[in-house]
């Protein structure tokens, strides 16, 4: 689809460039509905599950400047010092211009992989550099794993709710996505085992188990040490692959670090997805995947087909940045900023959300997951919230099967404390309004506790954390 922004031709004033009028952009004649049907007949089967939605169009509106958006997953890049950015890029231009502008190896530069080794060592992991491939963001790592492992109909297991960006990846490879409930200690590994048993009874087993065990997106919870050990054991016993996606592990605001699945397992059955997005910049589009050699071999071929190599220019930037040795200090500064924002969000929730709501209290990461009474549909609620100029991510985005409609994801890293307080106040107002309306309609003034939480299915049974 072409750019829908206002078509004003602007000729930038560049010295030395003659100010010739820019040619009008070629505009494709639009097609009739019948022509579109003709294209539709050519679409691959998998596009049937790649759906647009009212939710996605609503999310577009959240970008309006007057909207306080708690919908993003954006790190705050405004604290990165522009002068060091300028100095680093200048050094690259002066010293490595030709190489930085050239293609690079598919696996990524050795030096980039050394930097990745440093980041992983900070969380107690020491992978063989040959087990690392540099990817175009962590997102590509997830895509490459799915591309390498999933045939249509194959089972992929993930958390309920799961990272909203993983859902379309699994859908586009036509995976049969199964989601395992969580509680405040992360994925219910006992329920995972039950699911694996059920699948085994049908003669099936999942291609992999995708998990964000630390400060989960969107739920904000962390898998307990005990469950981590058990999950790694299960993977070994059943010879299953686990994909550990860990974008936020270093963004811890309280408590002690928990060993990663990759460290516990040693990299045999656990594949590891990392990213520079949350600790440096999402704009550089650099992440990585660690996998044992047989898997890596196929992943490299898959990446060649996708994009040959990730940006060499930004890999040079990472090299420069890590060369200065200040990356740990920058993360410390981010932790200070995000901790204050998280606290502002939790305080505001306490103050403005009705007692029927529950939410998680994350010890790190970027997100709080709030759950409302199950008669809510948070996609509709988003439409109401947008009338108050505030936005969140409806919970259904974190499910492959239409569940999650009673929940919402709230981001606290991308807005300052005042915006967070005001945003939560506005959401709280519309939630209360709808709770009151519902109670008026049903004659209920106290909602009965659900009889059996396992029957509800559409909300994650987190305890309210006070």
């Amino acid at each position: 689809m072409r750019d829908t922004s206002t078509l004003v031709s602007e000729q930038p004033d560049i010295p030395g460039v003659p100010a010739a009028p820019a040619p009008a952009p070629h505009r494709r004649a639009h097609t009739s509905a019948r022509d579109l049907e003709r294209y539709a007949a050519l679409f691959a089967q998998r596009t049937r599950v790649m759906r647009s939605s009212a939710m996605r169009d609503l999310m577009e509106i959240t970008a309006r400047p007057e909207v306080i958006s708690l919908a993003g997953g954006l790190p705050d890049t405004s604290t990165f010092p522009p002068e060091s950015f300028a100095a680093q890029m200048t050094r690259i231009a002066q010293e490595s211009s030709a190489e930085a502008l050239q293609y690079g190896p598919t696996e990524g530069f050795a030096r980039t992989r050394e930097c990745i080794g440093e980041v992983m060592a900070a969380e107690g992991m020491h992978p063989d550099p040959d087990d690392i491939i540099v990817t175009t963001g962590g997102q590509q790592a997830i895509d490459l794993v799915a591309k390498t492992l999933v045939d249509p109909g194959d089972v992929v297991v993930c958390e309920a709710p799961t990272y909203p960006g993983a859902v379309p990846v699994f859908c586009s490879y036509e995976a049969d996505t199964r989601q395992v409930e969580m509680d405040s200690d992360g994925m219910r590994v006992d329920l995972l085992e039950e699911l694996l048993e059920e699948l085994a009874a049908e003669g099936r087993r999942p291609k992999f188990i995708y998990t964000v065990p630390t400060f989960q997106n969107p739920a904000g919870v962390t898998l307990s040490a005990e469950r981590r050990r058990r999950l790694v054991e299960i993977a070994r016993e059943r010879e299953l692959l686990v994909v550990e996606d860990n974008p936020y592990g270093l963004l811890r605001y309280q408590g002690e670090p928990v060993e990663t699945l990759y460290a516990l397992d040693g990299g045999d059955y656990v594949l590891y997805v990392g990213t520079f997005s949350k600790i440096l910049s999402p704009g550089i589009r650099l992440g990585w995947l660690c996998a044992p050699p047989p898997v890596m071999e196929k992943v490299v071929l898959g990446k060649q087909a996708s994009d040959l190599c990730s940006s060499t220019l930004t890999q040079y930037f990472v090299d420069e940045y890590f060369g200065e040795g200040q990356w740990g200090a920058y993360i410390e500064s981010l932790i200070g900023v995000y901790r204050a924002r998280r606290d502002a969000m939790l305080e505001s929730l306490e103050r403005h959300f009705p007692e029927q709501a529950t939410w998680t209290a994350p010890a790190g990461g970027l997100f709080v997951w709030a759950t409302l009474p199950d008669y809510f549909d948070t996609t509709d609620l988003l439409a109401r919230a947008l009338r108050e100029n505030v936005a969140f991510v409806p919970g259904a985005a974190a499910y492959a099967d239409g569940r999650g409609t009673g929940s919402m994801r709230l981001n606290f890293s991308g807005s300052n404390e005042d915006e967070i307080r005001e945003g939560i106040r506005r959401i709280g107002k519309v939630v209360r309004e709808q709770v009151d309306l519902f109670e008026t309609l049903t004659g209920e003034h106290e909602l009965p506790a659900p009889a059996d939480e396992s029957e509800r299915g559409d909300v994650v049974p987190f305890r309210r954390d006070r």
Partner: protein, 309 residues
Amino acid sequence: MRVAVLKGGRSLERQVSLRSGARVEDALDALGHEVVAIDAGGDLVARLKAERPEVVFVALHGTDGEDGTVQELLEILGLPYTGPGVPACRRSADKAAAKQDLRDAGVPTPDWVSFSQTAFSELGAGDALEEIEARLGFPLVIKPARGGSSLGVRFAAGRDDVPQALLTAFSYDSRVLFERHVSGRELSVGVLDGEVLPAVEVRPKEEDLYTYEARYEIGRTEFICPAELSDAERSAVAETTRSTWDALRCEGFARVDLMLGAGGPEVLEVNAVPGLTDTSLLPMSAEAAGLSFEDLVARIIGLAPSRAA
């Protein structure tokens, strides 16, 4: 001619409007007009004053674009614009008001009741649900009074569905309608300068309801155009459509959505600024009448009167 296309805006149907606007721009361009695209925002009036278009093509959907707000602004600026004027926009944008006008004019429309949110929050309208249900029966349709693209529309098969459906509808507007459900064929009929175009029948492939997703996603809905109607049905539909156009005092172009049930056609709503996207119904209706999209846009531009005071 210098034509400004108003699109986008702040409504929930922003994306739909951007698609309509883009398609109109292409057509105007192909017709040799000078196109100025304007995403309606805080600088709308300033942009219009600076650009001084000869005609304004209103491709804004949702509130502001369809309820007469933008039209009122264009009139004060003395700019000719496409589509119905302020009164017709005001009437058709509020489904409850439009249905009242239709009923007064003797045009069939399914029985309904309409309430504001304050009726429930402050006047105890919840206690009248039984009477509402007794009058309209189940299943019934609950929908926001304003807004389009099926956003917030829910079926209630029985009592238990009503509270949630109301919550949904009130998410999109502070006033909602309870409407008797008419089972039958869903028809959409374009009208151009009072001339009734062929009806399009809408048959969702998967869902029971023609949802937002089914509307704008290729291949999700089957469109039969022209709809397969008997002569008697065709003339009843055309007559009802024409009466609707007259009753709401539409001008330029509009789209009338009806249900064709056992009791003949009944009007659900009128769209003063109907969608003009690749999957929209009015262009299909026009195409069946032998009008290409460019012909349609040319006619609409030609019909834009100057309403300047």
